[in-house]
Amino acid sequence: MQYLFYLFAAISVLSALLVVGARNPVNSVISLIVCFLSIAGHYILLNAQFLAMVHIIVYTGAIMVLFLFVIMLLNLNKSTEPSKTLLTRIAAVTAGALFLFTLLGALRQGVHIAAAKEFDGNTGLVKSVGQSLFSDFLLPFEVSSVLFLSAMIGAVMLGRKDRSPREDAPARPEPSERRTKKIPA
């Protein structure tokens, strides 16, 4: 069990570093997928099956595929990183180094955090998640439908093509536009 944890932890850290370091955006996205998968492995080690599945479906499945689509549609698969000015580089290095020193200082002092609650292995099971969603957390669960409804309205409203120019010219969307409509849900 413990070795599995170390394995997943090593994969997460390495792939996360690759996401930032890779020159090619497609490589970045692939490493991010690997990173997400290894994090899902952590969830399974903690007996949080529901979270692990949702994580894989939503992040790895939907969001990352969307990322890949965007990168391909915008033709970003060459390394087109804009070069940064010297000033931004200095500022970024300074800020990053300061943050690192703060973290190291905090770690040296040691922050002791007592667990507020005993670990309960049953919390993450699909059954218990479902039960609390429909009993204690019924209102948040229901009310989030308003949120999703408004997000959907927004996607339709802002993503729809204008009606006015279409009356003059017959509707013939260009290939790239036709592809944008395919948003994986």
Partner: protein, 454 residues
């Protein structure tokens, strides 16, 4: 609670009306629904009753704020009748989104669980991001929407991180438990809890546009359709402030958080008032004025006296009345000036329409806080609260900043009373005239009789 359900259903109903092309019915149905929601609130006797497994509970302050926000939304809906008269597309969606946003605002007045705080903020914001991009042919509107979306999601991430940290200490989202933990913190401070409170405060102060998290507001106010700007600077401000007030009250403010909020208050007062001096674009001016007002309101939040909620309500409600009135006036003047938004569009207003000029004077004086208007009473009460909470230096500074603020309001008033060669050809529909008059008169009335709002 039934009002909450009513508003959600009302939004869906408006969408259906839009689907069947009943554009004429949108405003009447919307206004009737909102009035019914106000009625439900007035009839509702369930004050301080926890509902849905301690998720929401309307206390006296939440009740006041809910009614206030519903009233302001009614005003904005009526304004919309004229504003959207020439627009054909997406009108129903705009109204429905506004109602959904209002539902989130109602949750913010009544949350007793940190999850509801997060959901409230999200339901309030996501429709706003969309509405800000409502003018689809305008580059500025899209820019406003995109900026607001990116920065807003960033702030939401802070909020969520803070809630997670608080959960890590308290092992519960329930505000009752969090309050107990917060009391324990006074004896034995825990870094995680302080950090969590800090992150939540950052997320919320983004919504109220307090410095240094205010950078989005001038651009977003400028780019959004005026109706949405009016909604943003009134209902959203009220909701965010009651949310922040409740949160700060529950956590008892760890000393470090108190200090950070105090510094933010001072910066907000300074940036809002001083940068506004250099603005000549009316919407940007109103954005900075709104930042400045956030500074005064933050002072009240810091004081945490028993009557703070009433003062907050009085301040935000009268501020909202004045702001809605001014945005309606701006829309009228903007139409006469072919879409210009510079403050010179008001030139000659008094000569052309004396009554509108007088109302504009009243509204501006109220925002500036001149005696006999509601703005003065509101500021006065806030200063009293701040002095009661031993914030003497901050109060002196705030008074100074309020004096600075009078200048930029006076500049706009001067424009309105300067005669111009050609009087602006203002066309005022009866509904708008009624709305502007109601705003102007009520600002004076509530200034003379402040007791009616408490």
């Amino acid at each position: 609670m039934s009002a909450l359900i009513l508003t959600s259903v009302l939004g869906v109903l408006l969408l259906y009306l839009g689907l069947f092309g009943q554009k004429k019915l949108l405003v009447p149905v919307g206004v009737l629904g909102l009035l019914a929601a106000i009625g439900l609130f007035v009839m509702d006797r369930s004050i301080n009753v926890p509902m849905f497994a301690h998720m929401v509970s309307f206390d006296r302050a939440g009740w006041l704020f809910s009614c206030g926000m519903l009233v302001v939304t009614v005003l904005i809906f009526l304004f919309g009748a004229d504003y959207y008269a020439r627009q054909e597309e997406n009108v129903a969606e705009q109204y429905a989104l506004m109602i959904f946003s209002l539902t989130g605002a109602l949750l913010l007045t009544s949350y007793t669980n940190l999850l509801m705080l997060f959901l409230g903020i999200e339901i309030l914001s996501i429709p706003l991001y969309i509405m800000a991009g409502g003018k689809r042919d305008s580059m500025r509107s899209s820019e406003a929407s995109f900026k607001y979306f990116l920065l807003g999601s960033f702030a939401s991430a802070f909020l969520l991180m803070g809630i997670a940290l608080i959960y890590g200490v308290a092992a519960s989202f329930d505000l009752g438990v969090v309050k107990e933990v917060a009391l324990r913190q006074l004896v034995q401070p825990d870094i995680l809890f302080t950090l969590g409170c800090f992150f939540v405060a950052i997320g919320l102060s983004f919504k109220v546009a307090a410095a240094p998290f205010h950078f989005w507001s001038p651009d977003v106010y400028e780019g959004s359709p005026t109706l949405i700007t009016a909604f943003m600077s009134t209902v959203v401000k009220m909701a965010a402030f009651i949310g922040l007030y409740r949160f700060v009250g529950i956590t008892q403010m760890p000393p470090t958080l108190g200090k950070a909020l105090l510094v933010m208050t001072i910066f907000t007062l300074m940036i809002g008032n001083i940068v506004a001096l250099r603005q000549s674009h009316f919407k940007r001016l109103m954005a900075y004025s709104s930042i400045a007002h956030s500074g005064f309101l933050l002072m009240a939040v810091l004081s945490q006296a028993p009557n703070t909620a009433q003062v907050l309500f009085y301040y935000t409600f009268t501020y909202s009345l004045a702001t809605v009135g001014l945005f309606i006036l701006m829309t009228l003047a903007k139409r006469a000036a072919n879409g210009d938004e510079h403050i010179r569009i008001f030139r000659g207003l008094f000569r052309a329409k004396p009554w509108l000029g007088v109302v504009m004077l009243l509204l501006m004086l109220s925002l500036a806080g001149i005696p006999l208007t509601a703005g003065f009473v509101a500021k006065y009460q806030i200063f009293l609260l701040a002095i009661g909470a031993d914030l003497i230096k901050t109060t002196v500074f705030a008074v100074l900043m309020a004096l600075v603020g009078i200048y930029y309001y006076a500049v706009v008033i001067r424009e309105a009373f300067t005669p111009s060669e050609e009087a602006p050809a203002l066309v005022v529909s009866p509904v708008n005239l009624l709305l502007i008059s109601v705003c102007g008169i009520s600002v004076v009335l509530f200034g003379l009789l402040p007791g009616y709002l408490q």
